[in-house]
Amino acid sequence: MTQERHSYLDEPYGLKAWLLTRDHKRIAMLYLVSITFFFMLGGLFAAGIRLELLTPKGDIWTADTYNKLFSMHGVIMVFFFLVPSIPATLGNFLMPIMCGAKDLAFPRINLLSWYLYVIGGIIALVVLAMGGIDTGWTFYTPYSSLSSNTNVTLAIVGVFVAGFSSILTGFNFIVTVHRMRAPGLTWFRLPLFVWAQYATSLVMILGTPVVAITLTLVAVERSLHLGIFDPKLGGDPVLFQHLFWFYSHPAVYIMILPGMGVVSELVAAMARKAIFGYGFVAASSLAIAILGFLVWGHHLFVSSQSVYAGMVFSIITMLVAVPSAVKTFNWAATLYKGSISWESPTFYIVGFMGLFLIGGLTGLFLATMGLDIALHDTYFVVAHFHYIMVGGAIMAFLGGLHFWWPKMTGRMYNEALAKTSAVLVFVGFNFTFFPQFILGYLGMPRRYYSYPDELQVWNVLSSAGASVLGLGYTLTFCYLVYSLFKGELAPANPWGAKGLEWTTSSPPPTFNFDTDPIVTEPAYDYKPHGTEVTVG
């Protein structure tokens, strides 16, 4: 089929048209390129870390270099990859379309958010060029405000700017969902991806400003020698932890909720079945967002926080685990009597469910105060959050990327390679991070590059797994990029899925729809006997 293509990709033409675009789809693609760059950079640092950890002694990097490697890995992966990943790429692309709108509520602010992200990123690269920071991505005081002699202040500026970018994305999404839905599209007809993004956006706008001001205080203390967190000047270093985690705990929900939204969409589409318990899944996104703000103290159990405060945080943390469990059960129940296609997005969903399950459940170990004494600041924590962030969020992101790739690019990727790399990533991931649970209970501290000999076997296994994981990601990148040039042209609805995005061409025209949609049916309204499904 060689028709004239009039999609958002083709017109208007030219670099300037892209860099000054107001089209949410183009902005999504701009973000995709930028976050991929930062993912690779962060991955490079991870490789540096795992390389050093092959042997019990520190033989590859100096202590300072190693400290900078893990700090930059964390800062880049959290602030420049995970937080924007799904919202700024898939979210930006899909939110208006799923709401039946022509664009987000504030297209120019959307473009501004990308530029802020890029500026923040450039600042981070400058910090890197100047040697990087060594405070850990958590910037604990008084080390970060007094001792560290790296470019902490500049790094904080970079994070601040990137954070502002995420606030703008969140606020754009909220207004879009409230005010831009097509006629007939009531809240309870919205795809669950929209619910998840909405909940994420609430967290973004409420939490990010707090880390902004907290890090500002650290920067001010560093540059002007004030005493806000310096115990020798009367300040309280633990106050920093409270303020920091007040954002950073909800931030982890910013990083996983969108992935859960993606999984809902993929499960429904791959099983051609309405998500079991739609209302509960939608409500659980909101519950996670709200409860997520009330649990930050579980990072401070052994930080001199009072036992009673700890108990309150522990019990609420148990509560916040429940909505995630509810979602997982609902997804599994959706598969029952579904009509499940064995294409690559399915591989990603199944991988996600296993890995997210382990990741989420291991949170319970840490929420259990008594046990946290043994596990706090060990590799158990590292394994736990990587299971969720990488095993969960990145798997979901890749699954979504594959699922919507035909829609966004108009091309199909190589299915066999996609399945292969899904398996490589799954296997590599488990070998990398499962041994770290064991290392954690054995007591191996975080941020150590030298360790007692008896811990080497698990570290070697972990590093070996990391190379497989890296291979999987590299393969994915290669065939996806290849598909942009040589991939088969995609039809409007290659999966035979329900959803407004599948009613328009692949890729869509600039204003999304040829005819403004009017919605008359609930989400995932797969009718039996195949009468309503049109594939291609």
């Binding site: 202590a63 400290n67 604990y140 008084p142 115990p231 020798k232 270093p237 099983a271 051609r272 079945k273 309405a274 079991f276 318990g277 509960f280 930080s303 001199s304 700890g310 108990m311 522990s314 019990i315 148990m318 509560l319 469990a325 509810v326 997982t328 059960f329 599994a332 598969l335 029952y336 009597k337 579904g338 009509s339 499940i340 296609s341 199944v350 399950l357 382990i358 319970l364 170990f365 929420a367 259990t368 105060m369 008594g370 046990l371 004494i373 043994a374 706090h376 600041d377 064991i438 209970y441 007591g443 501290p445 975080r446 150590y448 590059y449 030298s450 035979g496 039996p528 499904v533 594939v535």
Partner: protein, 315 residues
């Protein structure tokens, strides 16, 4: 540890068995749900594989009964975990009264340890088997964390305050001490060793060690050197309240609150006296914030703790 695939650290304290049991309990619950869900997912994916291009799934929308079941059961299980964990944590936060006091100060990048009898160590901690040991932790610079995996204990050492942890070693041997809060360049490798000896061997070791005076003796000397004596007399005639019997007593403050005079109260009153002024006294005590090291502070506090009414010690 003879295993080439170690799974658990040595079980060497009075709480390590319980901690391991709690760990295994949660593993069991999590393994159960993981296997259940993964098995179901894989099974469904296999059984309900799409046969024809235009097939769709059954329009099943939900079930309140199921939703309630899989909300309530996880909730109950997690509350059991909470309860057990909170109980264990609480017990680990309340050192027994008969515990021997050891002072540990973390500093970039070493642990400075002082026994009550005055023997000092760097990065090594000798303790007797079967005794309750209470560690008062401080830091001279940034936040560190004193952790002994074999005993399953851990606590941050925060500059500006004292924290405590306690343990009772139940196995002889040498076990790792780690710093478990990132503290700068040589955080990795800020390690130490705790050596558990029989009580006789421990006494012998103490006797052989050079003592620079017990904590209480050093504290008494500091009390005089820093002129605390001037205001804090044995009776209530001084400008400051008497300190005899103050430790763990209830103190009424100028604003009407009553607080328990624990170590952190004593520490705060030395470093920043304005925070809690005793009722009936003027806020005139000097601030010693930058004038006393963490170790000296611990020695002063040890001395004040030793001031008991029955002994009528002359300050």
């Amino acid at each position: 540890m003879s295993s080439s695939f170690p799974l658990f650290p040595p079980s060497a304290s009075s709480v390590s068995t319980e901690m391991d049991l709690l760990y295994l309990f949660i593993i069991a619950v999590c393994a159960f749900f993981t296997i259940l869900v993964v098995a179901l997912v894989v099974y469904f994916t296999l059984k309900y594989k799409r046969q024809h291009d235009t097939d769709v799934g059954e329009p099943i929308h939900g079930s309140i009964a199921l939703e309630l079941t899989w909300t309530i059961i996880p909730l109950i299980l997690s509350l059991v975990m909470f309860g057990w964990g909170a109980s264990l944590f609480y017990r680990l936060s309340r050192p027994p009264a008969d515990a021997m006091d050891v002072m540990v100060v973390g500093k970039q990048w070493m642990w400075k340890i002082q026994h009550p009898e005055g023997v000092r160590e760097i990065n090594e901690l000798h303790v007797p088997l079967g005794r309750n040991v209470r560690i008062t932790l401080g830091s001279e610079d940034v936040i560190h964390d004193f952790a002994i995996p074999a005993f399953r204990v851990k606590m941050d050492a925060v500059p500006g305050k004292f924290t405590t942890l306690w343990f009772n070693a139940t196995e002889l041997g040498t076990f790792h001490i780690y710093c478990q809060q990132y503290c700068g360049t040589r955080h990795s490798g800020m390690m130490g060793a705790v050596v558990v000896m029989t009580p006789q061997d421990y006494e012998a070791w103490l006797a052989g060690g050079r003592s620079t005076g017990t904590a209480v003796q050093n504290g008494e000397r500091l009390f005089a050197d820093l002129s605390c004596i001037t205001c804090h007399k044995a009776d209530s005639t001084g400008r400051g309240p008497t300190l005899i019997g103050v430790y763990n007593s209830r103190v009424t403050l100028a604003d009407g609150r009553t607080v328990v005079a624990d170590e952190n109260y004593l520490r705060e009153s030395i470093m920043n006296s304005q925070a809690k002024v005793v009722q009936g006294y003027q806020p005139i005590m000097p601030v010693f914030q930058t004038q006393i090291s963490e170790e000296n502070l611990m020695q002063l506090v040890a001395y004040i703790k030793s001031l008991k009414p029955a002994e009528k010690k002359q300050p």
